[in-house]
Every structure is written in structure tokens, then in C-alpha cells.
């Protein structure tokens, strides 16, 4: 994943409506018009959010008849998961270092 890809990923996930759209499309494929019904926003606004998610490769979009169907793109979602795993590793390390300090400090008068 290049720096630009990572930037697009973070930017796509920085908006609560887009996170919600993504959440819905992970569980089940959705048509853009069905998605739009969930939000107090114009169809065009939802289409824009969908386009940002598509550029970040978080969802894929296909035309089916007159409908546009979106679904979560598993590989990219796994990458976001990977970013969090990195930070999880950092916190595991921090926790083990804290435990070591606490064990040493308690031995002090």
C-alpha cells in the first residue's frame, strides 16, 4: 500500500456517514438508492460519499440494471485492521513495560 493509498483510506474513514455506509455494505450488499434512504441527505450527496469510499477501495460498485450495487471490499478493510494491529502491538508493549516498572517501584521503600 503506497502513502497515497493510506491517505485515501484515512480520509475515507474520517467521516461518520461514510463509516456508516461502509458498515452497512460490509454486512450486506446495498443499492445506492437503498443507502440514501437511511440518511437525511440528497441522493447526490450519498453518491459522493460512495465515490470517496470507492476511490479508497473500501467498497466496490457494480451496475445491475438501473441500480448501482455497492459492497464492502474485504482486502482493504483488512488493511485498516492491520493498521490497528500495529497500534495494538504498541500498546501490548507499553503494558508490559508498565508492568515491569510497577514491579520495580513496588520493591522500593
Amino acid at each position: 500500500m503506497s502513502d497515497e493509498d493510506v491517505d485515501r483510506l484515512f480520509q475515507a474513514l474520517s467521516d461518520s456517514t461514510r463509516r456508516d455506509i461502509l458498515q452497512r455494505s460490509i454486512t450486506d450488499e446495498q443499492s445506492v438508492s437503498a443507502l440514501a434512504r437511511h440518511y437525511d441527505m440528497s441522493f447526490a450527496a450519498i453518491q459522493k460519499h460512495v465515490a470517496v469510499l470507492e476511490r479508497a477501495a473500501l467498497i466496490t460498485k457494480e451496475k445491475r440494471g438501473r441500480e448501482q450495487i455497492v459492497r464492502g471490499h474485504e482486502a482493504t478493510i483488512r488493511t485498516a485492521q492491520g493498521v490497528l494491529e500495529l497500534f495494538e502491538a504498541l500498546w501490548r508493549q507499553r503494558a508490559s513495560q508498565i508492568a515491569r516498572i510497577l514491579a520495580t517501584e513496588k520493591g522500593k521503600p
Binding site: S14, R19, L90, A99
Partner: protein, 160 residues
């Protein structure tokens, strides 16, 4: 130390990390409050942190830098938003520029820490939400990711 749970929400880039220590909440609070103890654990292995400022009060500012094995310097900052000793801390943590001051364009991450007394110790819950790429890019550039992966293996080996 026992890691109780670690929850990752990829759609929201949030990590909730829960761990328990065999110590009182006051003792765990001390490792956050005392900068000489804080710098012994804040930086990843091989990237020790040095805190040059640590105003551990509401509205307080902290400035630190981490030093990598090849002498790379990574400065960072905290801004304390809310503090309730020895129970709760909310702060933002971000990347600083070469002058050591918060980078004007890079969004910091939002973090909170809660301590609860439990039977025989303290439960610490840390929540972090990431909104910018820079932290991760720095990790990748410095090879810290590799160091963390190795450390993870070591910890798992100890726990096995």
C-alpha cells in the same frame, strides 16, 4: 500483567485496549504522571521517549521526543483535555514539527485512559482513535513496525 481484551473497529479506526495490573490505581496513575517513569514505557522498544515537558493538569501540555536506534528523532506532544486523578485522563497525542511544537496540519489522535480498582489490582482501559496517517507512516519509515512485531513475539513467548 494480563491483557484482558483488545477491540479493533476498522471502520472507525479505534482501538480499545484493556489490561490489568497487580498494583493500586494510584501506582498505575504514577507511571502516567511522573515523566521519569512515563519515559520508561511510552516509546516502543528501541525507541525510548524523553519528556522535556509534562504538565499533567487539565489544559496542560507535554512535549517529548523518541530516539531510534540510528539516532532518528521523532518529536510528539500531548494536550491534556480532562483529568481526574487517579481515575480518568483524556488527551490528544500528535506529531510535532522540528521545533518540537504541534504540527499545524497533522491531526492528532484522540485518546482516553480509565483506571478502575478491581479485586487484587487495577484495570486500565485505553481508547485511541486515529484520524491521520502520519503516525503510521513514521512507524513504517523507521522500521518500528518490525521492532514491535519482534517484541510481540517475545511477549507471546513469555506468556505461553
Amino acid at each position: 500483567m494480563t491483557i484482558m481484551s483488545s477491540t479493533k473497529d476498522a471502520t472507525d479506526l479505534t482501538l480499545v485496549f484493556v489490561t490489568e495490573f497487580n498494583a493500586t490505581p494510584e501506582q498505575v496513575w504514577e507511571v502516567w504522571e511522573n515523566p521519569r517513569l512515563l519515559e520508561q514505557w511510552w516509546g516502543p522498544f528501541l525507541y525510548p521517549a524523553t519528556f522535556v515537558r509534562h504538565d499533567f493538569v487539565e489544559g496542560g501540555e507535554s512535549r517529548y521526543f523518541m530516539t531510534g536506534p540510528e539516532g532518528q528523532i521523532a518529536p510528539g506532544f500531548w494536550h491534556i483535555e480532562s483529568i481526574d486523578k487517579p481515575r480518568y485522563l483524556a488527551f490528544v497525542n500528535g506529531i510535532a514539527g522540528e521545533d518540537g511544537e504541534p504540527h499545524p496540519e497533522i491531526k492528532p489522535m484522540a485518546a482516553s485512559m480509565t483506571l478502575e480498582a478491581i479485586d487484587g489490582g487495577t484495570r486500565m482501559t485505553v481508547t485511541s482513535r486515529f484520524l491521520s496517517t502520519e503516525h503510521m507512516e513514521w512507524f513504517l519509515e523507521t522500521g518500528m513496525e518490525e521492532g514491535m512485531g519482534q517484541a510481540l513475539t517475545q511477549i507471546d513467548a513469555l506468556l505461553a
